[in-house]
């Protein structure tokens, strides 16, 4: 019943402690788990978006630089000067020395004829009048093409700029698409005089081909990790540079460019492997090209996952630690509680026993008084009868002997009753403990000497183990001896014959403890409960009054000490006498 209560208490305590201590930890862990992932995903989007922007700016800058160089060359040299192959070669060398990435350089007149050319192909004399880009450059003044194969059958793109020289109004007007022209004119109409140069000036085109590998080099730097990719596609979704995983130049990308709006757009969709992938797109080159940078977020989040795993490990270890500590400490507390409860129960039992003995003592004293007075009368009456029998008249009486014997028997039994009552009131006449210097070890030795013969006759060995550290105390030696004598006598009686008694003395805090252990049959629970009660005896009738242990208990209680008994786990009983240490006053 009690055990179930402890178990229930332990379970409740463990559950409550675990809930209180684990709840914050788990909530914190879960919050960190999700918040961290959200933050990292956001960061990844920002990162890929930033990379796309930076890369787009770099490409834009690249193209602008090339366009600017081309413009500068066109503005600083005349048509006649440039159609000279030697001059053009020199200009081409200067351009490549300053900026690089130019594959070739050519001059096209307003008829679309390639008038001069420096580069690896023989393109001189070719006519581009029908090419869409020619119209565009004539209208807009500059042109950057998509990547295409062209005459040379190699992927490339071109930049072309237009130059006006002398008055040749007919050329441009004849070759321009009217719809586009209208559009260009409208956009070019910056002020009231904005459209005059189209009719007044002769145009020629300086055309340069850019090495797309350089562009790819710039883009490739944006490819990060195992899954990162970066490439350019045009509005139709055709690769302008090689993709790392998804296709070659001029092949069709599996990408709908309409999903990407102005500036930088980040979208999430499945990539060619079917994994979730972040795509960041940025339009450049007059929105003709889309720079795409894609990356599987899993790869970018791999460090997060490692951190998260570490967090899980730490939380798991923390949980295990808390659980183990909670169980350990709760068990410790419950065990201590059990021990304290047991001690309390024992203490209560001792108090009950003391109260019982005190009540019995009072009753015994009252009974003793009531018995002693009649006994005193009987004894005096028999004495008187003896006195009378001594007179002459009775000396010749036939039954004188019988009278005297009867009187002697009465006196004998009065004496027996007197002894019982005297024992009940205390073995010694002097019940108040005296205060004298007592060596407990000496007292034990003396008591054992008194009983040695008795023990030897019964073949009982008395072993002594007395501690040296026991001080001389202020106590009553006679009474202590009485207690030891009672206990040793009982031990001998309990053994009967052939056995041993161990007598041990030791100091425990402010008490001297004397243990008397026998290897007799031990005590039943009932005997342990009643052993200090007056008149309780297990000895044969007439052999014991049942007062010895009661008196011993009273003596020890008066001294402020204690006496208790328990069974030896092996065999027999152990009586323990606790004597308070009172240091004698200096004389």
């Amino acid at each position: 019943m009690k055990e179930r209560l402890y178990r229930s208490l332990q379970q409740k305590s463990i559950a409550l402690t675990l809930v209180v201590s684990l709840a914050p930890l788990l909530i914190l862990g879960a919050t960190l788990y999700h918040q961290f992932e959200n933050t990292c995903r956001e960061k990844t989007r920002e990162q890929i978006s930033y990379r796309a922007q930076a890369q787009a700016e770099a490409i834009d800058l690249f193209l602008k630089e090339r366009t600017a160089i081309l413009n500068a060359m066109a503005d600083t040299h005349t048509f006649q000067h440039m159609i000279d192959t030697q001059n053009l070669t020199r200009i081409f060398e200067v351009m490549n020395a300053r900026a690089g990435a130019f594959v070739d350089l050519g001059i096209i007149d307003n008829t679309g004829t390639h008038r001069a050319y420096v580069g690896p192909y023989d393109l001189r004399g070719r006519n581009y009048i029908d090419q869409p880009w020619f119209n565009e450059v004539m209208i807009k003044g500059h042109y950057k093409s998509d990547v295409y194969m062209g005459f040379r059958q190699q992927p490339h793109f071109i930049i072309a700029v237009r130059r006006h020289e002398n008055q040749q109004a007919w050329i441009l007007r004849a070759t321009i698409d009217p719809n586009r022209l209208e559009e260009i004119i409208r956009s070019a109409r910056i002020g009231r005089t904005g459209d005059a140069y189209l009719v007044n000036q002769q145009a020629w085109i300086l055309r340069a081909t850019i090495d797309p590998n350089r562009l790819e080099e710039i883009i490739r730097s944006a490819r990060i990790g195992r899954t990162g990719d970066a490439y350019l596609v045009n509005r139709q979704g055709v690769f302008q540079t090689r993709s790392r995983f998804e296709g070659a130049v001029l092949s069709k990308a599996n990408l709908d460019t309409r999903q990407f709006g102005g500036r930088i757009t980040v979208i999430e969709m499945k990539d060619h492997t079917g994994e979730d992938c972040l795509y960041a797109g940025s339009w450049l080159n007059d929105n003709k090209w889309l720079l795409v940078i894609n990356q599987q977020p899993l790869e970018l989040l791999s460090r997060l996952f490692a951190l998260r795993q570490m967090e899980m490990v730490i939380i798991t270890l923390g949980v295990l630690g808390i659980v183990a500590t909670t169980i350990f400490t709760t068990r410790l507390v419950i065990n201590r509680l059990k021990r304290t409860d047991l001690e309390m129960i024992e203490l209560n039992a001792q108090l009950v026993q003391s109260d019982k003995l005190a009540a019995l003592g009072k009753m015994a004293a009252g009974v003793a008084h009531e018995i002693n007075n009649p006994l005193a009368v009987i004894l005096q009456k028999t004495g008187w009868m003896e006195d009378l029998l001594e007179e002459e008249d009775f000396q010749n009486c036939e039954n004188l002997d019988e009278f005297q014997k009867s009187i002697a028997k009465i006196e004998e039994h009065v004496e027996r009753a007197r002894k019982v009552v005297h024992n009940m009131l205390g073995y010694a006449r002097r019940m108040e403990p005296r205060q004298e210097d007592v060596d407990v070890n000496d007292t034990i030795q003396q008591t054992i000497t008194l009983l040695e013969n008795h023990a030897r006759i019964n073949n009982i060995d008395i072993q002594i183990d007395l501690a040296d550290s026991i001080p001389i105390i202020a106590s009553d030696q006679a009474q202590l001896q009485q207690v030891f004598l009672n206990l040793l006598n009982n031990a001998i009686d309990a053994i009967g014959s052939n056995g041993s008694i161990d007598v041990v003395s030791l100091r425990e805090d402010d008490r001297i403890v004397v243990r008397i252990k026998d290897d007799g049959p031990g005590l039943s629970d009932e005997m342990i409960r009643k052993i200090f009660d007056p008149f309780y005896t297990t000895k044969e009738p007439g052999k014991g009054t049942g007062l010895g242990l009661w008196v011993s208990h009273s003596i020890m209680a008066k001294m402020g000490g204690n006496i208790h008994v328990k069974n030896n786990p092996d065999r027999g009983a152990i009586f323990t006498v606790e004597i308070p240490i009172v240091i004698p006053e200096k004389k």
Binding site: H369, L375, L425, G426, M431
Partner: protein, 152 residues
């Protein structure tokens, strides 16, 4: 011991009568009374060597009160306390107040006689001491009359 004079004080009449008779049979001058008050009255007219006094006497003066009064009026009379119960504390209190000793009832007459003998010896010694002191005083201050002698 016919020069003994003993007063026995006990409320238990049977005990008192028998003890008195037995002591008288041994030629001891013995008077028995059943209460403290009667004891004090008796002692007004007669000096006793030893008083045997029961401690517990219900109603009227108890043994301790009686002892106090006896010691006030006849300081030289030795008092042996008798007790039928285990109130040893009371007996010890009595000893402190000047009782010679105490005995637990029931007591054998032989044991009582031994105790009486000891008490008488003590009283005798006390009286001898006082007598010697008086003689010394008389030698030093001839004609001086002692207060106690006047009372007597």
């Amino acid at each position: 011991m016919d020069y003994f004079s003993i007063l026995v004080v006990d409320d238990e009449v049977d005990f008192l009568e028998t003890l008195v008779k037995r002591l008288q049979k041994r030629n001891i001058d013995t008077v028995g009374v059943t209460s403290g008050e009667k004891a004090l009255e008796t002692m007004v007219n007669k000096r006793f060597d030893v008083v045997i006094l029961d401690i517990k006497m219900p109603g009227g003066m108890d043994g301790i009160e009686t002892l106090r009064e006896i010691k006030r009026h006849q300081p030289l009379a030795e008092v042996i306390l008798l007790t039928g119960h285990g109130s040893v504390e009371t007996s010890i209190e009595g000893m402190k107040m000047g009782a010679f000793d105490y005995l637990l009832k029931p007591i054998k007459l032989e044991d009582l006689m031994v105790k009486l003998g000891e008490a008488f010896e003590k009283k005798d010694l006390q009286e001898q001491k006082i007598r010697k002191a008086r003689i010394k005083e008389l030698i030093r201050f001839p004609g001086r009359v002692f207060q106690q002698e006047k009372e007597e």
